[in-house]
Symmetry: C2
DNA sequence: CCCAAGTGGTTTCTCATGAAACCATCGCGA
DNA sequence: TCGCGATGGTTTCATGAGAAACCACTTGGG
């Protein structure tokens, strides 16, 4: 019943409100990331995500539909990102034998080469962000984030049912 | 050197990438919150934040400038939210004796009354989100978020210097 | 074989956000 | 006191994300 960090009614502050803290932290991190990708490769985060998935080995070629599931981005966002990447020659579409409505997307040679440069930057950034976090804290942070995500999603579901 | 959750080069996955996890969790939470405020009070998150600050007692009347600092929102966002709240009659602007450029903002009677309804909803939502988190985990989650925020901000600063 | 419903993808529209330009007022130094 | 840079606030503009409408193709039932 006594969680010091929970508002007490008397001295409440926005900066101690969880959704606010989460939003602030998330914005700070994604601004940093976005800025780095943009500056060095001219990639937006959405575009980077697509490349990251296509380049990660296990997913050689896949449809936009598959990408929307893996990245949890809107199908419109995926489509736009793919269009840009295709125009830049970083990915290509090959016909999908199994289904004429879609194409299979894969990295081009140039795309792969960019991918090999981009990933180290991403990993380095992640490492820098975690600098000063004990290994246990890193793992726990990820775990708490996942649980919070699941929890929020389930509360949202309740409401729509 | 061996953080299992950090990518190993061979089996990397987007869903284990910190900035991605953070973004997913944050979106889930703010979607939930936004939906609740909207449905019950027709308030956007930005508007709610303004009301929360103006109503929290210690901040009786303040300028937009002060609000931008407390809420960390853009001054444009603050201005827009205030405009809407004023039109809805939830806050009012009184002349600022000390500086003719600005006004002092405060809740109206109706604003205060809404505020008294809104805050319990916010706190209840926070509590629901933390359901299943041990008290220690709650505190640690907040602390980790803050540290991550500070860390990201400092990395971003490095870059601009 | 044909039609209807469903699905992948694309385009269009709307809205929210942040940057930059802009206006009015303040406060300091000549 | 005059003028000029700085500051609070407002408006305008460009960009990004999601909703909805739309097109093309597939699939399953007459």
């Amino acid at each position: 019943m006594n969680d010091k960090t929970l508002a007490t009614g008397d001295e409440w502050s926005l900066s101690g409100f969880l959704p606010y803290q989460l939003s602030i932290a998330s914005n700070a991190v994604s601004d940093l990331i976005a800025e780095r990708y943009r500056k060095r490769f001219g990639l937006k985060v959405t575009e980077w995500r697509i490349m990251a998935v296509l380049g990660d080995g296990s997913q050689r070629a896949c449809t936009q539909q598959a990408l929307t599931q893996v990245t949890r981005m809107d199908k419109v966002a995926v489509n736009r990102a793919c269009k840009v990447l295709e125009e830049r020659g970083l990915i290509q579409r090959v016909p999908n034998e199994a289904d004429g409505r879609s194409h299979l997307l894969e990295l081009t040679e140039e795309g792969s080469s960019i991918h090999r440069e981009v990933m180290p930057l991403a990993l380095a950034t992640e490492r820098e962000l975690f600098d000063g976090f004990a290994p246990k804290e890193r793992a726990q942070f990820r775990e708490l984030l996942d649980r919070m995500h699941v929890r929020a999603a389930s509360l949202a579901d309740d409401r729509t049912k």
